[in-house]
Symmetry: C2
Subunit: 435 residues, 2 copies
């Protein structure tokens, strides 16, 4: 076919003056074929509508009438999205200690933008000169080795999509009354990224682990020298020295220029700004595995070293702060994950756990990664209680909140993975409820 | 095990004073078991090193001696990464027209950070108020429909990792002499993202496509009213109205608040700021499918409507600007993709195409998505010519550059997918070569 050159852009723009009566799209009630959604993830739509006299074609909007802005070397979100931020919580006078949480309910898919990845710092974010940073592997090894960033960049790399979750995430569910806050404010110590780096086993094998070694003490280069004892078996399994997050160099608050990534293990062990790995035969009893990150049990004892995060799920749409706008079709959507592997299924209840339906899982379902689940819902305007319940490939099932709470001393909030519930009122208001 | 509370952080920090002699890690020559890399993606490492007297443990670095900075609502890359930017190219006096390219050789994995996704604008980036933007579906439909952002957010969503590539990408390879520039500067009109949105077929079915309809004219809400004719069959297949990119709302330069995503089709057709879809029985012959984005053939004809992007691959490590630092082990790594589906294999040649080896593909290998390939290379210091050749699941194989060029008139640069070559000189310098 020959090229037909004609300036059709002008013509097309002129068509903006057409008067076009258009209805407002909104899924008809008979629209969503649930079977199709569960298999292919898509539904055909029906044909009943509320409004019939829109006029969008009449005038071109202002932003089509003048040239837009130019190119940028590094882009940022729209100014209309400025409320989509991390929620910061830290004690007065201690700017480097605390957390910031990912606004999960504002996001979609399974990747967390690096700028919104949750933070947990113990003495602030260090400003590390990558040319002066080294990772030392020492202790019970045949030969201590120091790795500069330039050297690590020559090693074989691996890329995996993984979640990181703080073991204190969702700890607010240990309160007597359900916190009335957004899902991100309660559950936002959770993020998912594509991580790329060097398999730690490669480096440990190069150093030569001595017989009798059982632990690796990981230390960060922050002003807290944040340290944790890691089982050697995990370090020789799927642990990675991560250098890249979502394609680019790891962000400063995630450990620039390198962090330890222990897929499925509680966030605190994924030591950021990783500086030293001391191979030993015993644990170091660091502050963050004794005074913190241990689980208080009934009877005054504490449980130490609960490493993997359990099977868990959250409904994000709808959720607190996102009230329903009248009866009709909605998509119930959220995230599920497990530190033990892949999510096998997510069930959703719309009646406080009396009955459950299977949600569709967005492919690919990856191990130790966030999995998006979706289920259509034709809300008739009745009060309802929404719950989700994840099961992982090892058979681990999310317990009820009551069963979870009963295991621990009052106030223990680490490793919460109980079923969560949103109460929907007749006017569409969404509240956090214990059910 | 009971909790043992002790301030180990201080002890650990004190250990920074230890004197630890450490060698510099660098993979031994017998380290990389290629078989293991191809299967599991990881290699054990060997035991020969160059240096033996590092002293990294002697002193804690400066950044451990004072508290780091506080939390941020939305994070940005490290200041040490400020050179990792898009490369902007636009004509003098026309700030809204041109491209910016992704610095592919600086990135890893398969996801492009949204801030570094390539741009192609025809009259700048419009500043669209999402509350005033609507998508109109009209023309040969039973009922025209207008969709606000709020309404679309109630529809069933889908999430897919897909690439977008400008059909002019790598056009520089049509030059008589190989451009001496970075891979991103040559090939950076290519990016990969996790996109989430509403299947277009759902919306078209709701509007009700009339018999005889064959095309959909897509128009953007930019000041160029950028328009393309899209086959209806594609719109009813895997096309999506994308609202989210890498988890968050689409960035302004990618089409905020919504864009058309046509997986595998040339970038220009994935109309940003999508405003109208006019269902018709014929093409509109818009400027960007007549004067642009057509392929000049021998004999003065032009080929129009070459929609899908062909099977293609790039070696990014090493590449121009990233010279080898002496003999030893390196990882050869790059990206492969195809508009027709999944990548089936990537072969790498280290001898200008005489012999080929299979590279390892990073799982999951997804359709119409960037796939990372990796292969270890023990460079002995000899001059070498590196090439990669992708084959997709339909059997499409990257042609040689010479075969690709021979199809077209001199100077035609759209849809380049020929094999590319990096010449490695004995001193480690990497040059772009035609081989």
């Amino acid at each position: 076919m020959g090229a037909r050159v004609r300036n059709s852009e002008k013509e097309t723009a002129a068509k903006s003056g057409e008067k076009t009566a258009a209805e407002k799209g909104l899924l008809g009630r008979r629209a969503l074929l649930q079977k199709a959604l569960l298999s292919a993830g898509v539904a055909a739509a029906g044909a009943s509508f509320a409004h019939a006299d829109d006029d969008v074609g009449t005038n071109a909007p202002d932003w089509m009438k003048t040239p837009g802005r130019t190119f940028t070397p590094y882009g940022v979100p729209s100014k209309w999205q400025e409320k989509v931020q991390r929620t910061i919580a830290n004690p007065p006078g201690r700017p480097g200690t605390g957390v910031s949480r990912t606004p999960l309910q504002r996001l979609e898919g399974t990747i967390t933008p690096a700028g919104l990845h949750f933070e947990r710092h113990h003495n602030g974010v260090p400003d590390i000169d990558p040319a002066r940073h080294e990772l030392l592997i020492h202790g019970m090894v045949k030969r201590p080795l120091a790795f500069s960033l330039d050297v690590l960049l020559r090693y074989p790399m691996e890329t995996h999509i993984r979640f990181v979750e703080c073991s204190g995430n969702s700890g607010g569910y240990n309160q007597a009354q359900p916190p009335q806050a957004t899902s991100g404010e309660i559950n936002g110590l959770l993020s998912g990224s594509e991580w790329t780096g060097v398999r730690l086993a490669t480096l440990l094998n190069e150093a030569g682990v001595a017989p009798g070694a059982k632990w690796v003490i990981a230390e960060g280069a922050d002003a807290a020298a944040m340290s944790r004892s890691i089982p050697l078996v995990k370090c020789m399994d799927d642990a990675v020295i991560a250098l890249f997050q979502n394609g680019e160099a790891i962000r400063p608050e995630q450990g620039y220029p390198m962090r330890l990534l222990l897929p499925g293990f509680e966030g605190n062990m994924n030591v950021k700004w990783i500086r030293r790995l001391n191979v030993t035969d015993s644990v170091v009893d660091a502050r963050d595995e004794t005074s913190h990150y241990t689980e208080l049990m009934p009877g005054g004892k504490a449980r130490q070293f609960m490493f993997p995060m359990g099977a868990k799920s959250l409904i994000l749409k709808p959720s607190f702060g996102m009230n329903l706008q009248g009866p009709g079709w909605y998509e119930v959507s959220g995230l599920a994950w497990s530190g033990a592997g892949r999510i096998a299924k997510v069930e959703v209840s719309k009646d406080a756990g009396k009955t459950w339906e299977l949600a569709a899982l967005t492919a690919p379902v990856l191990p130790k990664a966030l999995t998006r689940f979706r289920l259509p819902w034709d809300w008739k305007g009745q009060p309802a209680t929404l719950m989700s319940r994840a099961t992982d490939e090892t058979g681990d099932v999310q317990p009820t909140r009551a069963a979870w709470v009963a295991q621990f001393a009052v106030g223990q909030g680490y490793h919460f993975n109980g079923v969560q519930a949103w109460g929907i009122e007749a006017d569409g208001t969404v509240k956090n409820v214990y059910a």
